[in-house]
């Protein structure tokens, strides 16, 4: 079931019709599940060649974009974890029991409160470090994406669109 003459199926299953002579809209397709649109538009007559290096840059940009979205999700989860640990340690300060039920795996072990406190501190430290590591990776990914955008826009100008919907 290939495309009929003068029709092109894009990846989101819309069809662009064109007469043999004139394209009314550019060919669009999704660069990533997150809907970055890579539009390669009809040039005025000159065709910018796509070299292997350009292709690699486009690939890298797509990969970075995916990683960026994954990181956003992971950062959200890490922030929640940090908050939960904060709440837990606040509760700990308020409570005055000697033995608390501390969740390990699926069970709640009875643990003396000093040990709970030290465990909680360690968990908070780890969670904070993890969050910081994720934030730093996000910054680096964004910086690399900005660099690639400069390069790709420089070569292709209007024929390429690297923004998100």
């Amino acid at each position: 079931m290939g495309p009929r003459r003068n029709e092109i199926n894009t990846l989101d299953n819309t069809t662009l019709r064109s007469s043999p002579l004139f394209i009314s809209s550019p060919v669009e397709f999704l660069l990533s599940p997150r809907r970055i649109v890579l539009k390669m538009q009809q040039g005025e007559g000159s065709e910018t060649q796509v070299t292997w290096e350009d292709q690699q840059n486009i690939n890298k940009f797509g990969r970075l974009n995916n990683r960026y979205h994954e990181l956003e999700e992971e950062i959200k989860v890490a922030k929640e974890a940090n908050e939960n640990l904060e709440d837990a340690s606040n509760e700990l300060i308020l409570s005055d029991e000697d033995v608390l039920r501390f969740q390990i795996g699926e069970v709640f072990a009875h643990v003396p409160s000093e040990e709970v406190e030290s465990r909680l501190e360690k968990m908070k430290e780890d969670a904070a470090k993890e969050l910081q590591r994720l934030e730093e990776e996000k910054e680096s990914v964004l910086a690399q994406m900005a660099e690639l955008k400069k390069i790709l826009y420089g070569k292709f100008k209007d024929s390429i669109n690297l923004e998100e919907d």
Binding site: S18, V27, L31
Partner: protein
């Protein structure tokens, strides 16, 4: 990735059953070489994209499974570690655990010498603490390694998808470009 300018294929021709998309240096040469007209070649590329999509779904499902499995193994390791410390201190471990949904029972674990591990397929084996720990650690390592390979596969796959999409656009644009030239020639003659 240094690839010579004259090569029109990627450095790998396939990875674990996923065919690589060959990069097209020049659209005209590519069409001549494959002997296909524009529509057939576009059809072929679209088909390739569908195949890639199917593989991507499969890999994503595998990735989700692994990502759920790893925290589970880590939790098991925590429990084993807890038992070890209690054993060293020669104290009993008092825990509340779930007997049924929402119902918890208090237990006192005095014999810390062995644990039972669920191996899957309705099989559960008893292990000493050290054996259990090393088995769990091995499982964890394997899971993490598999996940890494899987992520690599997904990245490779997405690159191939991108290359194919760009090729589709270029072939299409080239075709339109050709038609425009022909039309211009026709108009100048008439």
């Amino acid at each position: 990735m240094e690839v010579s300018a004259s090569a029109s294929t990627a450095a790998v021709t396939e990875r674990r059953g996923i065919p690589a998309a060959s990069f097209v240096e020049d659209v005209e040469a590519y069409l001549k070489q494959s002997g296909l007209d524009v529509n057939s070649s576009l059809g072929f590329l679209q088909e390739r994209l569908q195949q890639y999509k199917i593989v991507e779904m499969k890999l994503l499902a595998q990735q989700r499974d692994l990502q759920a499995k790893i925290p589970d193994i880590e939790k098991c390791l925590d429990v084993v570690a807890m038992l070890e410390t209690k054993k060293a201190a020669e104290e009993a471990l008092i825990t509340d655990f779930e007997v049924a949904e929402g119902i918890y029972a208090r237990t006192k674990i005095e014999d810390h010498n062995s644990v039972c591990l669920w191996l899957g397929a309705n099989v559960m084996l008893e292990y000493s603490l050290e054996e259990a720990k090393s088995l769990l650690e091995k499982n964890l390592e394997n899971a993490k390694a598999s996940l890494e390979v899987l992520v690599g596969d997904l990245q490779f796959l997405r690159d191939q998808v991108t290359i194919t999409q760009v090729t589709v656009a270029r072939v299409y644009n080239w075709d339109v470009h050709q038609r425009r030239i022909k039309q211009a020639v026709k108009e100048s003659k008439s």
